[in-house]
Symmetry: C2
């Protein structure tokens, strides 16, 4: 899922996301950002997030919790929820499972995430357990409020009235527990007991060693409910996607293709290419000779480097487009390989190639 | 002509410029900017400006003179040319008619502009006359060097080798003389005597009263060679385009649609709309109900305002797209009205409507 933080996948028109080339079926919206600006009431007044953005396809919204920890000021957390100050205007805010469900219902996303508490990647067992248990209690409260809101939406006919509170949203639970496998297993059991439409692994890719992430995914993903989507939050590089699919994950979201596009980094089949590098000044080759995207078909490294060097917006637009094309195409190829029973070979060739170096 | 300063119409993909919706047949490139970055040699090494940018349609390049006056530091002008320092890296540079022709040949644009000397809009007669006479002498030198370069390009077969020095470029002369009609007439006579593929009116829209601009255009455009394109440089608003077409002008270039798009201003059939205005916070209507562009079909004022308020690149991208659509569509309608003998009525209705105010 490309990430559409404040209601836009940065630098990308929706027509491009819908084009055959990218064909993004679902994007992520950040509840925290949209709640602060333009505000849930404004989005609701405009008919929900789909109508507000002009995007008919699916949206997953996160709970807002992660951004409260990373962006909010003066956080005070207790059983009830978290007090913090908006990083935009300093206004005092309170986020609880109930508030998160209410905001996500107003946004009207297809997939709603429970409010969780993410411990640091290197959290000690006791700290991690406390966060995990709070996550489980908040998951139950999220579930209850979500169900009430869905019923209310259906009862009042808002389902028909607008796309927002549709009565047809899905709710995903989140497995926490930092790097402690016993806590992860306990978290999964407690979350599955409540029952959700899908299950996510949260609290990874937050500073821990990559081997720790792979280990947790390898041990936990296979024991997550088989018939429900398994979603690894905030991950990752192309290699991470392949490796974690190999360990049982179905869904990912990550800002890498868009954020790194804006800072001049292109992901290619032969690894990362830094367009700022002077060696590309007169390089008339495309970013990736094996990429069929519109940027690679049309523009040279020399031109993209020039755009970046002169601070032109088109550098971000084009690098973002290529990166999204590369990520989404990689996942399309993953699905094809799985369907044709070829995943193991595909994985090996992909990893070998991506480590072979830019020509 | 949309303006593509350093080889990009800011915030706009070439696919959009080529789309039926915009269908820009020609864009402008700034010789000054491209000469400094990435440099004429780099563009030439990449096969000329068309190949460098990935744009097959026509390009007009200006002479670089205007930017030297407005952006260059420590200018020292004499008969030979102008010494200045690059605004990018402070390096000393020298621009003369010969250098300008050489750079524009390396860029390989379809239309090349002579190097001229633009006097301030309020220049006294003596100052304006001196600039005008220098412009005439530089025009003759531009013509001579241009012809030699074209011949050289044809002789050495570079015509076949690459799109750059094609032997098939066109050269336009420029009429100067500030607000003094007798100087303008003298400038036109001197320029026409040298003989060019098209004629431009320069040195307007540089701080003079609008009535002065209209007066100069009204007196000069009709006496410019009938069988050659008449190009008014750096103009202007939608009203200016209509008024100056009415006075005999065929071609325009202006940064207004792109620059104002980036600062939150939309041009509409009912005048300018400032998307920053709080009144649009929940306004679900398009920028312009009478506009059929993809932005107006898809996005609301509320969404565009939100994008602008949160500093999102997509605000610039979408407002620029709409503005280009409005300007290019206006000119398409002008051409239709002229063909059908309806221009007088079209002009009256257009001006009345654009002054009627945003709803």
């Amino acid at each position: 899922m490309p990430v559409g933080t404040v209601g836009t996948v940065k630098g990308t028109r929706f027509e491009a996301l819908e084009s055959e080339e990218l064909d993004a079926r679902i994007i992520l919206g950040n509840t925290y950002h949209l709640w602060l600006r333009p505000g849930a009431e404004t989005v609701a007044a405009c008919g929900g997030l789909h109508k507000f953005m002009g995007w008919d396809r699916a949206i997953l919204t996160d709970s807002g919790g992660f951004q409260v920890w990373s962006l909010g000021d003066l956080r005070k957390i207790n059983e009830e929820g978290t007090e913090f100050r908006s990083h935009v205007d300093g206004s005092p805010r309170f986020l609880s499972p109930e508030v998160s469900m209410q905001v996500q219902a107003a946004l009207g996303s297809e997939i709603v995430m429970v409010l969780d508490k993410c411990a640091p990647g290197d959290a000690e067992h006791d700290v991690a357990r406390e966060s995990m248990l709070l996550t489980a209690r908040w998951a139950a409260r999220s579930r209850a409020r979500f169900d009430a809101l869905q019923k209310e939406g259906a009862d009042t006919g808002r389902l028909e009235e607008r796309d927002g509170l549709s009565g047809a949203q899905a709710l995903f639970g989140i497995v926490q527990g930092a790097s402690h496998l016993n806590l992860r297993r306990e978290s999964l059991a407690r979350t599955a007991e409540i029952g959700f439409d899908g299950y996510a692994i949260g609290g990874l890719s937050v500073g821990e060693e990559k081997s720790v992430m792979y280990e947790v995914v390898e041990r936990i993903a296979p024991v997550m409910p088989k018939e429900k989507p398994r979603y690894l939050m905030g991950v990752g590089t192309p290699e991470d996607l392949i490796e974690c699919v190999g360990r049982g994950v179905d869904m990912f979201d990550c800002v890498l293709p868009t954020r790194n596009g804006r800072t001049g980094q292109a992901f290619t089949s032969r690894g990362k290419l830094n367009i700022k590098n002077a060696r590309y000044a007169r390089d008339t080759r495309p970013l990736d000779a094996d990429c069929a995207c519109s940027v690679c078909r049309r523009h040279s490294r020399a031109y993209l480097r020039h755009l970046y060097a002169t601070g032109e917006m088109l550098a971000s637009i084009l690098l973002t487009h290529h990166n999204l094309a590369f990520f989404l195409d990689t996942m399309r190829r993953v699905r094809q390989a799985i369907r044709s029973g070829d995943f193991t070979r595909f994985r090996q060739e992909f990893i070998e190639r991506i480590n072979s170096g830019i020509e």
